[in-house]
Subunit: 195 residues, 2 copies
């Protein structure tokens, strides 16, 4: 289950709310070279690392997906994903649009959700409200967000983040629905017929 | 949204529960030549009609789907479906396995849900518990149910009717999820890009 969308749309907030209200759901912790924001903790929001170490891991083929966003590297380690899936647990990857395209190509079984802002104006207000970046950075983010919005058609679902609770509820519904899909190998109980 | 599954699995009960807990959801009333069971009302569970009239309507091309199940005709009128869809409302068709295959062919936009019993033993207990049919009829139903179970792979989703509330909850999730699907034409709000 991939949750993606333009920078600043509120992916992190929605994912954390989802973790609170659902059981047996895991949020993949990405690796990044971006410096921690106030309140972020190593191993909780991200694994923070250096650019040199990140490049080494790319060279070793350690990443399921990685991307450069606003000058920083972000990536998901293959080992993280394998650990959860081998236990049969659900895993959410909260990744950017470039990364989502790679996962789509590498993991055809994944369901991709595009988290969209109620409007571009609302997105701008949210990015400015965060107050962690200067005006130039904010403008770069907004230009990038407009481009990222174009990528929605690569996704399976569009969920609008008007209210965190609504968006998390719809994503929960999508997880439940995906787990009933016949083309994911779901069979009636006691099914013993010829496939 | 099509809900189907073997005879006796509890389609009617699950659909009625779903109507109680969700808004703006309509249950299509089918037309049948089967005599009313105790407690059933004309126009609520079914439109009851004669075999001659039913055959006339087949001849006029009035049905989106129709089938003969256990010696009785059942069908969904095209006008019923058109009325709801033109109002932009959700419509559930509760139909048998033969009918579902016809809708799949005629309405590619529909989502098909196969309601499965927790086991064949549970299905038998449910049909016997209904107490409206003699032993020969019950045996015919069970033979038919085994065949109908084979058809699950024609559907998009399998939902197990272990508890009415659980099954209705999952079907509700599937309705919510389907309404977020990009391939149903869902776009981010204010989307003005080139399609």
């Amino acid at each position: 289950m991939i949750i993606s969308g333009p920078s600043g749309v509120g992916k992190g907030t929605v994912c954390r709310h989802l973790m609170l209200v659902r059981q047996k759901l895991n949020l993949s912790v990405s690796t990044t070279t971006r410096p921690p924001r106030p309140g972020e903790e190593e191993g909780r929001e991200y694994n923070f690392t250096s650019v040199d170490r990140f490049k080494e891991m790319i060279g070793s083929g350690d990443f399921l997906e990685w991307a450069v966003v606003h000058g920083h590297y972000y990536g998901t380690l293959k080992t993280t994903v394998r650990n959860y899936l081998s236990k049969g647990e659900d895993l959410i990857l909260e990744i950017d649009v470039q990364g989502a395209a790679q996962v789509r190509k590498n993991s055809p079984g994944s369901a991709l959700i595009f988290l969209a802002p109620p409007s571009l104006e609302a997105l701008e207000a949210r990015i400015r409200g965060r107050g962690t970046e200067d005006d130039l950075r904010i403008k770069q983010r907004l230009v990038a967000a407009r481009e990222e919005m174009e990528a929605y058609y690569l996704y399976d679902y569009v969920v609008v983040n008007d209210q965190v609770e609504n968006a998390a509820g719809l994503i929960g519904a999508i997880i439940d629905a995906e787990k009933c899909k016949v083309n994911r190998g779901v069979r009636p109980p006691g099914w013993g017929g010829v496939e």
